[in-house]
Symmetry: C2
Subunit: 203 residues, 2 copies
DNA sequence: TCTTGGTTTAACTATTTGGTTAAATCATTT
DNA sequence: AAATGATTTAACCAAATAGTTAAACCAAGA
């Protein structure tokens, strides 16, 4: 038993990831996934009973990558400012590795948000401790006062947006020069940290 | 001639906008557009020969809304800081009016960027003057020094991201409370201005 | 009123696509 | 080597879908 199972399943997952990320759930074709995995459609349905089930597997995998274990950073007893810096570093590094993630997640969240909700529920992800930590830092005068929600959205947005809007930025700001875009994106780590730290420093 | 033409065409455009924005090009169905416009499929093809042509019309319309006439603001002789504030105000107001735009544009740009490129080309949109203006302000010590590209992406990203990520923010930060989310988004104008101005003020 | 030309419809077609089935194949165990 | 059970395939099916066609309709001008 399990003759070439691991191998085939892996090939399917790789192929499906490529196709779903590029075309989305609606644009993806089971035939294309089968072709890219070097198998035929029936085998695809043998491993993953339906397109929806296959998509769920891929989506869950990719959401898992997108919402990484920043819990460790946040639960450490580093000063808040260093925590924020570490989150930015970790997150931009992740996005440099998987630049297609933001557009994919945004696209599929807008189509059907329930798989994402299930994921969050399953992982028991809670944002409240983060808000509390930031609120405390504000009360202590370590960072400037606002609603913690805004600060979190600002930080994540500054990290994520350039990747989500990559094709536009590439065209408008860099006239299609992929090298220049890549250079720009790799500068984001330093740039976002500088920008955020300056913005939140108390008077 | 042109008996009810205007009326019907308008109904089609409204219906197609709804459906394309909600489902995207791949997920949209001509039948659903026809139903929503209160006509049948053949009439849809009579007005817009193909799904692609209809989509192009809608996409171009929506990109036109997304890249509004901020030229006037930028070409005025207001101080740079006030220009930046005005751009943020204008942009967030726009997004509050059309909150679905960012996700739609990101989604469709990733599928096929050529309609967007054509639009930019046709409108003769150039980013260089904006970069030059910011560079000058940096040289004059009015704002802190960076690559202008980063500043532009930061400002746009802070405005746009919360709208693109709406479903996630709504769930994670507000537990599905639409009212709370709307309140949060309407605070962004003030928040982003505060955040950006603080981040770019010279030492 | 009769013609004309744009408008609208019902019915149809060709193709694509997700999914099924029954048979063949292959590795492993007895 | 024979049996077993997982794996793989070719051929097929039903539903959905973009697009077509030919005829009916309707408002306006001659």
């Amino acid at each position: 038993m399990e003759v070439k199972r691991d191998n085939t399943e892996e090939k399917i997952i790789d192929a499906a990831t490529d196709v779903f990320v590029q075309k989305g759930m609606d644009g993806a074709r089971m035939q294309e996934i089968a072709d890219r995995a070097g198998i035929n459609k029936a085998l695809l349905h043998y491993y993953f009973r339906s397109k929806e089930k296959l998509f769920d597997a891929i989506f869950t995998k990719l959401v898992g990558i997108s919402f990484p274990q920043i819990g460790q950073i946040l639960q450490s007893d580093l000063p808040v400012l260093e925590k924020i810096e570490m989150v930015i570093d970790t997150y931009v590094d992740l996005l440099l590795k998987y630049p297609f993630l933001p557009a994919f997640i945004i696209k599929e969240m807008n189509r059907d948000a329930t798989p994402f909700f299930k994921f969050i529920e399953k992982r028991g992800f809670a944002i409240a401790p983060i808000f509390n930590m930031l609120q405390k830092a504000m009360d202590d005068g370590v960072i400037v006062k606002t609603r913690p929600e805004h600060l979190v959205v600002n930080v994540i947005g500054l990290c994520v947006f350039p990747f989500a809007a990559r094709p536009m930025i590439n065209h408008v700001a860099f006239h299609g020069d992929d090298k220049a875009l890549k250079q720009f994106l790799s500068e984001r780590k330093v740039e976002v940290k500088k920008f955020v730290l300056k913005a939140i420093q108390p008077e």
